[in-house]
Symmetry: C2
Subunit: 344 residues, 2 copies
DNA sequence: ATGAAAGCGCTAACAC
DNA sequence: GTGTTAGCGCTTTCAT
């Protein structure tokens, strides 16, 4: 039917031009060994035949892939989507390919992806751990293999690795201080496990702010859990069951805040009139778009950029490896809140 | 300092066990040639030493990568993020790796990424074109190389390729019909170029609905453009300059709607009181969360899933290749709108 | 049941 | 300036 289309390789070009593979290979890379005329002839032919080099072969030979591996818990999530986009852009600018994998908040899947990326011989690994991740042996193994490793935003309990995070404790602290100044007294915190840095740190900031104001800590109002919508929903229901509602909730992530909103909505509790919510994350787009929550804004783009720069630094300079911690500031964003009209 | 850590390969295992590489290779793949005892011994050692196969070598040898390449215009964008997540999940379930690239709405970058993916020898390619893409030669080249190709959501003008899209025309039509029934008469459409299917089709549906109701078409109110926030902003400003405002705007995407919102906000025009906006896309999370816009909801997860299934089908069955077009229905979602309180 | 040899497509080292 | 040789790590015949 249609003419048999083989994929062109170096050898094909070599035969047509009656030179050796090596000449072709060098010519395509503008190697100074080769005369400009030959280079031009080779490139023209390559173009004409639609030659595309085989990365598998190239990388196998080079024993390096020029590639950064990424393991992220979620994509459909504005914060992570922005981090990822920024990593892609920064990597692209530096001529690195990015291999993204998505763990869907599952430790098992995270492990699998890391092994995959290792077997693809990525030059470095950027990871944001799942909400479940407790076991760090897989990361130790990465380090043992001398693959540079940088954690972004979510970091496990592990010595000797680099990380780029935000000032979670400070962010929580400022948000709660602001709320207290506004007159709130009955403060709650929902979401986060102690084995993931952001859960621990955000709760710490929350508690510190209460302490600094001599406010009592109501254990019923400090609810741990995951980082997803369902965790916010369940967390709020748990508080609701105690028949004693707070006036203010600090949610550990945006999805958690949404879950809280949904639960409140079902119960006929108005947000923000009855309970004000602040969460970590990114407002959908800008502060003029009405949002029900205030935000501890995380500089997602900057996180991605710094993480990428750091990993590239480590890749280029494996001898001088020295774990580095970069901590970025957050910013409290007071939203232009809509009046809520609960759906009934 | 720390002990020199070489990456373990087949040969290392072979030496330790005093068998050949081949035995190891087969054992790791549970090849029936190998005795259960040997298999167990090999696997135990591999585990102990942390052996990770080299995909480069494996794939080079297999002349296939078990990988699906993805070229998407944007990530930090709920619709695309959802499509991507769904593609990842579906591919994962089918034991395919996904290689994501992001064109950032730039035709040049799209071309580069496609070449990259070709050189990585992906088994198939899923593409959603940029707003700029006019030249289709690169796609023809992909087809010539017999690499299965499926477009998702955004499709170029090109014969003989598979696609998974939504019923854009119908979606526009229903949205506008609904608005007309509600009493709106002065209708505008912002965004979209005619060379990308979704721009063309959405505008067509808009125009058809006006025609069906014998409403005049005001050329000033049909503004073309890209799919980004800036395009919505500029589009609205263009309309504003004519000193004749519509009552209703159909925005070609969610970012365009946001741009319109921002422009209106700057001008002191209230959304949705003065102008109602409907856009294509995904509401941030669910219909109970207040949103300023109504949505022609695109089934992002389903799009991703179908596209992935289709490409896998094509990969498994290259002989029987026959372009296939899948069109999914949209759904008009009326949001629980907040009262606007322009910031100013 | 196990292994030796050849080859996947490319590049680096070293001739000529 | 160009070519020869060897090898990257794995898999696939084909012997044994």
């Amino acid at each position: 039917m249609n003419k048999k289309v083989r994929i062109i390789k170096l050898e094909d070009l070599a035969k047509k031009l009656k030179v050796s593979k090596v000449t072709i290979s060098k010519a395509l890379r503008n190697h100074p060994d080769i005369s400009p005329l030959t280079i031009k002839r080779v490139k023209d032919l390559a173009d004409k035949l639609g030659y595309v080099p085989n990365y598998m072969a190239k990388n196998l030979s080079a024993r390096k892939s020029n590639t950064i591996g990424l393991v992220i818990p979620k994509i459909a999530h504005l914060f992570f989507a922005s981090v990822i986009e920024s990593i892609y852009d920064t990597a692209f600018e530096n001529n690195y390919e990015t291999l993204l994998t998505v763990s869907q908040e599952q430790e098992e899947r995270e492990k699998k992806h890391i092994l995959s990326l290792l077997s693809m011989r990525v030059d470095g690994l950027i990871v944001s751990i799942t909400q479940e991740t407790k076991d760090t042996t897989i990361f130790k193994r990465v380090l043992q293999q001398n693959i540079p490793l940088v954690f972004v935003d979510r970091v496990p309990d592990l010595e000797g690795v680099s990380s780029v995070t935000v000032d979670d404790t400070g962010g929580s602290y400022s948000a709660v201080m602001y709320a207290i100044k506004k007159g709130y007294r009955k403060m709650a915190h929902i979401g986060g496990y102690p084995h993931v840095n952001i859960g621990r740190a955000r709760r710490d900031g929350f508690l510190q702010a209460l302490n600094a104001n001599d406010l009592p800590i109501n254990e019923d109002w400090v609810v741990g859990g995951g980082f997803g919508e369902v965790d916010g929903y369940n967390g709020f229901m748990k508080i609701y069951d105690k028949k004693n509602l707070p006036e203010y909730i600090l949610a550990v992530t945006y999805p958690v805040a949404l879950g809280i909103y949904n639960a409140a909505n079902e119960l006929g509790i108005r947000i923000p009139e009855d309970i004000e919510i602040t969460c970590f994350g990114k407002n959908s787009f800008n502060e003029f778009v009405p949002s029900m929550f205030n935000f501890v804004d995380q500089p997602a783009k900057e996180l991605g950029k710094q993480a990428t720069n750091l990993i590239i630094q480590h890749i280029n300079d494996p001898k001088a490896f020295e774990p580095k911690h970069i901590e970025l500031k957050t910013q409290l964003i007071i939203s232009n809140k809509p009046k809520s009209e609960p759906v009934g």
